[in-house]
Point group: C2
Chain length 145, copies 2
DNA sequence: GCCACTTGCATAGCACGCTATTCAAGCCGT
DNA sequence: ACGGCTTGAATAGCGTGCTATGCAAGTGGC
């Protein structure tokens, strides 16, 4: 039996994620955003003034990755880093007005991508699919390689 | 209404793909393989002597991406490129013995990752989940951004 | 037969992921 | 108060994805 990629959850997850990233990138590029920046903004819109470490934990990415993303966001005028009031090692990350103004259009673009993607499934299968995605993701995250 | 990432198919697909990539990378690193190289091998194990363009089409990645992956694979002694017999622009990609020997252990590692991941779902939900993944992927691939 | 379009690859530049390393600052037990 | 572990962040190096270019070789129409 050869390995059938069209039935491999891992292969399909990779392919699907690339497709989502392409669609999302196209949707938010006009706003001057890249996908990873949008993810970081998602957290910052909920709660401003997080530290880099907190962002890492919430998005489950490595610290070095987040440092790069935040660097690009600062360069692009989306965030400002300020000294942490209580810990001189840490910095807090704050949204600029420009970033705050992007919340509505950016989340709208993301919602549109999700809607168009899920349209491929019969309505009754959408919620179970997303639930399964969530379930597997949480499990794999718990017991990392 | 704020955007809930834990219910966003796109967000979850990205997260899941990163987790799969980490698990797979850990599983095949001892073989000297990286995830994208494994994907290319998957096609070459089925049919040796493909051109770069054919590999791109089958894996749905851009030509420039494949050029990079094949370059690393040639560097690592996994493939050889030969002149195409009929088209002087093209090259055909051929497996080395080393790459051929990796088929069994590498596919086994990938299968193990899939199995462990799907173990998070009740048995009855696994097939529908993979089917949905496949369905959405195919649809999104058809009508690209 | 020639010029224009297409096609196969390489390359450069950038975004993101990861690991590994380094450094400063906080924390702790003795 | 000290020496040692932990923690927050930057940096370097690498793999993988993308777009955009550039060039050589094939193809077609006239």
């Amino acid at each position: 039996m050869t390995f059938d990629k069209t039935r491999s959850a891992g292969y399909l997850a990779n392919h699907l994620a690339r497709l989502f990233a392409q669609h999302l990138a196209a949707g938010i590029a006009p706003l001057g955003l890249a996908p990873a920046q949008f993810m970081a903004l998602l957290e910052l819109w909920r709660e401003d003034g997080l530290t880099q470490a907190e962002l890492c934990a919430r998005l489950d990415v490595e610290q070095a990755t987040m440092a790069g993303t935040l660097g690009r966001m600062a360069r692009d005028g989306l965030i400002e880093r300020r000294a942490h009031p209580a810990d001189r090692r840490a910095q807090t990350v704050h949204l600029t007005d420009r970033a705050r103004a992007l919340e509505a259009p950016a989340t709208e673009a993301a919602r549109a991508v999700n809607a168009r993607a899920l349209a491929a499934l019969p309505e009754a299968e959408r919620a179970p699919f997303v639930a399964s995605l969530h379930r597997i993701t949480e499990e794999m995250r718990r017991r990392k390689p």
